[in-house]
């Protein structure tokens, strides 16, 4: 059993850390958060520096960790422009790979992955967007909610209902995925503002009004959309675990720096046992989360994904991030409130919600365990 990552991955980690420390300046991160602006320059720089490389998942994973450790909002924004690409890599046609995936991998275009609707998030099969044939053409009607890259993506991988299920128990049947371009007639998106955190990322509500979808934009087999989404979640959840881990590590970094500053101020607080315990407990939980996440990633990247471990990693890392940011914020008190620690506190919460809430992860874990 080897608990270390290969040298080339550790090299990417170091490079990612250096990049984030240099590029995610205080001014940039503050502005993106305050004005809810997507840092497109950072995306381009991150691409040019080779960090957005879906073909090198370990590299992406450690980059996600290191980027979010410096700033979760800008870090996520930098690495998410190819959101959903794995669906095309796994199930897309050659045409789709060439037309949609390639420009994304070249850093020329941005993609989004659109499942959630106003009426259904956790309940993926409960969506109501319709994809149906009329006069031999596919027509898309409906809308999506909380879609990342919603105002900046060139195209979206959209889940829609293409056939009514035979029975309520089979609701996950009859769902299909289609590629929708933001330039298509009938597409519109409205930016969602006033988010608690991750304010550098673009989030939007999408509307589809009688959009004509060419047959070649249907992904994989008709009716298999639910499974494609689930297999995508098995991948993306690991990246969210990395995001959460990075956020928690960022909180730990800030706690350590703060304790050192207190010490140099001559404060006895730095040596309080309660401070030492806070540090030790947070660091221990981070290491435990790391083990779970790397185990999940190792299995996935060897093409043997284990949804149980993946969901455990996502759920556990998210809870570690939420707890770490809260305890450090409380400990720093006024000393933290005007620093980026308050942003880490706000940014951490999303990891318990997106790509499957913590409750949904627990349901996945128990159901899969009972099947084993």
């Amino acid at each position: 059993m080897d608990f270390s990552l290969p040298k080339e991955i550790e090299d990417i980690r170091k490079k990612a850390r250096d990049f984030a420390v240099k590029e995610f300046t205080q001014e940039l991160t503050l502005t993106c958060d305050a004005t809810e602006t997507y840092p497109d320059d950072i995306r381009k720089k991150a691409y040019n520096a080779g960090f957005i490389d879906v073909g090198n998942p370990w590299g992406m994973l450690v980059s996600m960790e290191e980027f979010c450790r410096v700033d979760p909002g800008v870090g996520m924004s930098a690495l998410v422009p190819g959101f959903g690409s794995e669906v095309i890599m796994l199930y897309g046609s050659d045409y789709q790979k060439k037309k949609y995936l390639e420009p994304v991998l070249k850093g020329e275009k941005i993609s989004g992955f659109a499942v959630t609707e106003p009426i259904a998030g956790s309940d993926v099969a409960g969506i109501s967007t319709k994809l149906y044939k009329k006069d031999g053409k596919w027509i898309l009607n409906g809308g999506k909610m909380f879609i990342t890259n919603g105002t900046i993506a060139n195209h979206f991988y959209v889940l829609a209902r293409s056939a009514e299920p035979d029975s309520p128990e089979k609701r996950h049947h009859g769902l299909s995925m289609a590629i929708v371009e933001s330039e298509m007639k009938g597409f519109s998106s409205t930016k969602i503002t006033g988010k608690l955190g991750m304010r550098a990322t673009s989030t939007a509500e999408l509307k589809f009004d009688n959009i004509e979808i060419p047959q070649e934009n249907i992904i994989g087999e008709e009716g298999k959309g639910f499974y494609y989404v689930m297999s995508f979640f098995n991948i993306s959840r690991i990246y969210v675990a990395a995001q959460a881990l990075g956020t928690a590590e960022g909180a730990l970094d800030r706690l350590k720096a703060y304790l050192a500053a207190l010490k140099s101020r001559g404060s006895p607080m730095a040596d309080y046992e309660s401070a030492q315990f806070l540090l030790s407990e947070t660091a221990t939980e981070i290491e435990a989360a790391r083990m779970l996440m790397y185990m999940a990633a190792d299995k996935l990247f060897k093409f043997e994904p284990d949804p149980v471990i993946t969901s455990m990693a996502k759920y556990y890392s998210a809870s570690v991030a939420a707890k770490a940011t809260r305890s450090v914020m409380l400990f720093m008190g006024l000393d933290g409130i005007a620093t980026d620690m308050e942003r880490f506190y706000r940014d951490s919460k999303i990891t318990e919600i997106w790509e499957g809430t913590s409750e949904i992860e627990k349901l996945v874990i128990s159901r899969m365990l009972m099947k084993k």
Partner: protein, 370 residues
Amino acid sequence: MLTEEQEVLRNTVKDFCEKYLVKSALDIERKGISDDIKQKLAENGFLGAYIPQDCGGSGLDKKSYALMLQEFAGYSPSVAFWIFLNNSIFSELLIKNLDKTICREILEKVAANKATAAVLFEDVLKNSIAAPQLEIDENLSVKGDNSALKIKGKQDYVLNPGADFFIAAVKKGSEDGILLLNKGVSVVADNPHLGFRGIRFSKVVLDSPTKDAVFLSTTNGLDLIRKTYNNASYEVAAIAIGIAKAAVSAAIDYAKTRKTFGSELISFQPIAFSLESYISEIDRMENDLYNSTSPEDIKNALRAKLKAVEMVLNASSLALQVHGGYGYIEDFKIERFYRDSMALAVFTGNHFNDMINLSKIDFGDKSAVY
């Protein structure tokens, strides 16, 4: 548990909030508490609720005042905190340390919204500050009438920097005192704003030729302000309970209507159980708080505050979680409750210092030293 009068007060506050705050709660966060709302708070006697009647306030007793804050907190934590800062901190410091005539003059204005007040709390709430950072310019010493007194320096954490009156701890030789200032405070920059966004939060510089400055105390300044914060623990507990109650009740309403997998959220045990456990915890805390025969007792108040603040951090997080993605955006008030819970913890003291204080009260001076 509550007297008839207190029930009437609670309903009056509720009616006021329904009428004036429900629609403007989001605006308050985006643009600040409007003068119109402050004026209405003043006209209804809420702005000076805890200020004694002979100083122009409503002279509520501590329990009734806390109850009022709790109700406000459920609608707009910013408004509750604005009233809290004016009454529990500013007015208390003045009343306990200043000549009644001057007190009356100032507090009448504050209660009537003719002037606003701020307390520069940085040195009191920041970790490990032994002496005030603001120093009286020694070259211009105090000459009886204070006409040549000058105070210079900066403060990084100021709520309501546009106030007409400021209370600040200052270093004067080897002593630390408290000054009341009314000029020479200017904003350098605004801070990131985790919570209570209805109240401006800024970095300021002071350069006050404080002809009119008045000493509230020439010794033990930091301790006096700290004590005032400790004495306000009871009210902090009430605000925390108010936020938690509103957050959990919004989550229950949401869980009863939002459907996933064909059923209302409330039908899923983990959701029903966790909401239920908060209802009973909040109920118990509320009972304890308002059944207390001695709201002035620091030990009980500090305990109530610590428990209530911890509870509201958890309760608002749960409420946000129950709302899923919708909890994450400002249109649903939960996002605000989540941020304001932490702001409440940070702007009313330090968790660890409170724990140390409480340990010392309970276990003696040798406890909680290392």
